[in-house]
Each structure stands twice: as C-alpha cells, then as structure tokens.
Subunit: 295 residues, 2 copies
C-alpha cells in the first residue's frame, strides 16, 4: 500500500490527512504551529506529530510514515529557500512543499483554472492557468494585504482618531470603538503600538456588521477595500469565465459585496486546503493509476 499524506500547516496549527493511493482520506491528525518562517525545527516536529496522529487514528503503524509520499502546503514556503530547506528534513519517502496558497487553490477549485483570493488577516491572490500558478499581493500587513482584516482594523482605529480630532466625521462605529478604549485616544495609541496583525484584525467583523447597518464610516472603509480587492482581480484574472473563490475568514463576507462581473464568477470552495493537498499528492505520486481507481 502506497500511503499518501496531505499537510496544511500554518502559524496556529498543523493538520495532516492520511489517504490511500486513490486519495480517499482515511483519517486526519492535528498538532501545533508549523511556521517555517520563524522556527523550522518546531515546524518539522509538528508536521511529524500531525502525521503520526493521522496514522494512529487510521490504525496504521507509524513505521509506515517513512514509506509515504506527502504534499505539504505551508505559509512562507515560497520565501527564500524555506521550502527547499524543510523538504530535505522531512521523514517521508517523497515530499513536495508548496505555499499554503497552492493547496487552498486546489481544494477550492479542484483541477479547474481560476483564481482564489485568501482574505483573512492578510490578503493574497493565487491564479492557475493550465500548468502555471501565479501569486499576487500577500506581501504582509505593513506594505500590502489590502482588504485584509489587519488593514481594515488599522484603518478603523485611524478613522476613530481622525473623528476624535474632528478631522473626519464621527459615526456610531467610531463612537463604539472609542468607548472600547474608554474614550481615551492614548489607549488606542498604546494598543496600536504592540498590536499584531491579528490583533488589528479583531476589529474587521465589527466593520462588516456596521456596514450592513449603513454606518457611513464602515461603508466607506469596506467600500474602499472592495475596490482594492477588485483592482487585484482586474490584474490577475483572465477575462474568460474562469472561476473565482474567496477564502479565509473574511472571504464569505466580501462575496456578496463584489461587483456583478465578479459575483457571476464566484463559487463556493469545493473542498478545504487539506483535501487540496491530498489531491495534489494523488496527481504527483499516484500517476495514471489514479484515474483507474477513481473510474
């Protein structure tokens, strides 16, 4: 039996799926963070931990990990030599390390051409056209990731301070934010000083909620973000009828706000990124036999 392994690893946790050679998932396992940008060795250990948990859950001996073939989708795998460095450290017979965006695209669109925008704390565009996969955006909160939750939250704090100073009009939303900080602008400054992108992102749901209530500040900020996201789509999407999925924590909130030309192409993701990793493992390691097994 040639087992396949799919891995979906990020800064919070690592998930593994054990599948048979046809891609049927037998069991999954989970462990801690697999952030290869900050701690390669811990990432390696948690990848192994999640994999062994999946094998154990399926009743398969973990001694067979060494004979399995794996596809891994990991945040930061496309930066510098991170992916290649990890690939050499893994316990599998064969392993391919991709950026997390690649397995997300495969999961969402299957084998079809198209674009996914992953909009969570950040924002990144992944487009497949035949054999070619291209990335755009996603350079991080400080100088990129427009439309992502961190940028939205930061923008909201800025608008709250502009309203406090009378530079811009206040609204029910900026009033609510100011109350959260005890009416004290210095508390906003203090929060912002040490806030992670995720911390800023905690304000994003509030923005969508107030936008749905026609709060003018929320409508303006969300409207600008929708325009930013569509500028990205204008640049990366072919003008044909290829598919579009919005993923990540904010994807489903942006979907209904898109212009008709993009809403028409929007589809729910077919599967999650972990399933996408397993599908890619089938493509790469099970060869032509797969078609037969599926057929």
């Amino acid at each position: 039996m040639n087992y396949l392994v799919g891995i979906d690893g990020g800064g919070t946790s690592c998930r593994a799926a054990l599948a048979d050679a046809g891609g049927r998932i037998l069991a999954t396992g989970k462990s801690g963070s697999a952030n290869i940008m900050t701690d390669m060795n811990t990432a390696r250990l948690n990848i192994l931990g999640a994999t062994e948990a999946a094998f154990t859950a399926a009743g398969v001996s973990t001694s067979l990990v060494a004979s399995a073939s794996a596809v891994l989708g990991l945040a930061g795998a496309n930066v510098g030599g991170n992916g290649a460095q990890l690939q050499a450290m893994l316990p599998f017979k064969n392993a391919l390390v991709y950026s997390d965006g690649v397995i997300a695209l495969q999961g969402a669109l299957g084998d079809a051409d198209g674009t996914v925008v992953i909009v969570g704390t950040g924002s990144v565009y992944v487009t497949r056209s035949g054999e070619e996969i291209r990335f755009a955006g996603g350079w991080g909160f400080k100088v990129s990731d427009l439309g992502g939750g961190a940028r939205l939250g930061r923008d909201l704090l800025e608008e709250t301070l502009l309203a406090y100073d009378g530079f811009h009009p206040s609204s029910a939303l900026t009033d609510a934010v100011m109350r959260r900080f005890g009416g004290n602008p210095h508390q906003i400054v203090q929060f912002a000083h040490s806030a992670s992108p995720g911390d800023f992102g905690t304000f994003a749901p509030m923005l969508f909620e107030y936008a749905s209530l026609d709060d003018p500040v929320a409508v303006a900020l969300i409207g600008r973000s929708v325009r930013n996201i569509e500028e990205g789509l204008d640049a990366v999407m072919p003008s044909d009828d290829s598919r579009l999925s919005l993923l990540g924590g904010l994807g489903s909130l942006y979907g209904p706000l898109l212009s008709p030309r993009y809403k028409a192409r929007l589809q729910e993701p077919l599967n999650d990124p972990l399933t996408g990793a397993v599908q890619l493992a089938v493509h790469h390691f099970s060869g032509a036999g797969v078609e037969h097994m599926h057929g």
Copy 2:
C-alpha cells in the same frame, strides 16, 4: 541675577539655552537624547548635561543651576504623567515641562494666535487661541500622523508592490524604488518588517522630488497628503486671519503646495523652539519686570 533656562529635548538630542531675566540668550549647550517616554533617568541626566554645558559656555558657575528657572519642551510630556514625573526630578529652582509642540509654537508665532503643523517623520497640529493651546493629530505612525514622512514612505513602498503585481500602474518613481531593492519585492517586505518610522521617512524627500517632475504616482501620493493636512487645518484653524507656520523637516516642502486659502496665511517661523522655550520662561518667571528690561 535670576537666570532662565530653555530646554528643547527629543529622541535624538537635547539643547539648552541659558538666558538672562530678560530672555537674552547668553549661551547654548547640547547633549544626548531626552526621551522621557522610554528612559526618564537618561533624559534627566542629558537635560542637566546640556544645561551645564550652556552655563559653562557662558562662563557662569554651574552651581547656579539650582537657582535658575527653566521651561522645558519635551516630546511625550503630554502623555500620562510623564511631564509631572520629570518636573519633580529636575535640579532647577522652578521648572515647567511642556510638550515640544508648545515651545515650537511659541518660537514660530511668538505671542500671536495661530497654528503650527510640525511635519517631520510624524505630523502634529498645535493651535493657540488666547490662553488656550490645543493639540490634534500626532498619535503616531501606526494609526495617525497623516502627511508625515513615515506615512509617505510606507505608502510609496505599498505603491511599488502594487505596481510590481500589476494592480496599479508603475511609474519612474516606483521603478526607481524597485531598483533600490534590487528588483526583489521580498527585500521590500524584509525592509518594512523591521523599519522604524524614521526608516520609512527616508523615502519622503524622493516623493517630493518626483512630484515636482510630475511623476503620476508621486503626484497622487503627495496630493493625498496635502489634502490630509488641509483636512486637519480645516478642523483646527479658526476662520479668522490667524497665522500658520509649517515646521519640521517636510514643512518647507509642503508650504508651496497648500491651497491659496492657507498659503495666504502661511508665514516663516519667527524663531526656533529653543528660543520659544526661553520666551516662555520669561513670561512665567520674569513677570512684569521683563517689560521694563525690554523697554
């Protein structure tokens, strides 16, 4: 002899002026940073160091520091209890601690009503109307300080990445920035990851230079910043003919770009902040006698 001391202290250095009771500056002295936000004790030592240097340069015994009256303008003095805490630690007979914006306003406008905008790495508005002095903006790079050098530089790096991805048009300016980073967007990300506000601000002069050459990206970013600064002025300036000065490293670059309604009120700063501190010391500690000595 009742000596007066003016202090202008910030994150880079601390300057002191020794003056007679009429405000005539006898000598100045300089020392290291006086950042009361990050290190109160070092700030105190450098304030004393600059003061003793001024006394020595004037040929006055430093034993007379203890009988002098001082006005200090220090960044961060208006945050929490910083100013009051320092005031209790100082070696002078009398001491008043103000925010650096107050001595800058006094220096620039003298005793007249009006507004100064200090636009360097950050941006802050200080307005005097009779006895009242109000601050606006200046909440820091992360959520405020629109038009400041750090925000301009960050915006430029964002535009450079948007041009790299084809989301926005490129220009000679974004091409030049990309070349600075070896044509590698990851190098921009790496720079931004650890850049201080001052590091981002190093790109601001380049923006003004390219705007003067009609580079469309530079014109758009500088134009937006001018609008941001004027939104602030609309909010804080009385509609009478009170005066306006633009201070800080970018002040003289923004001046010519203001709308006619503000350019008409613009004037060169009369004096520097250190002289402003001495003037305030005269007002507070020399009383009516000053008028006589000046007359």
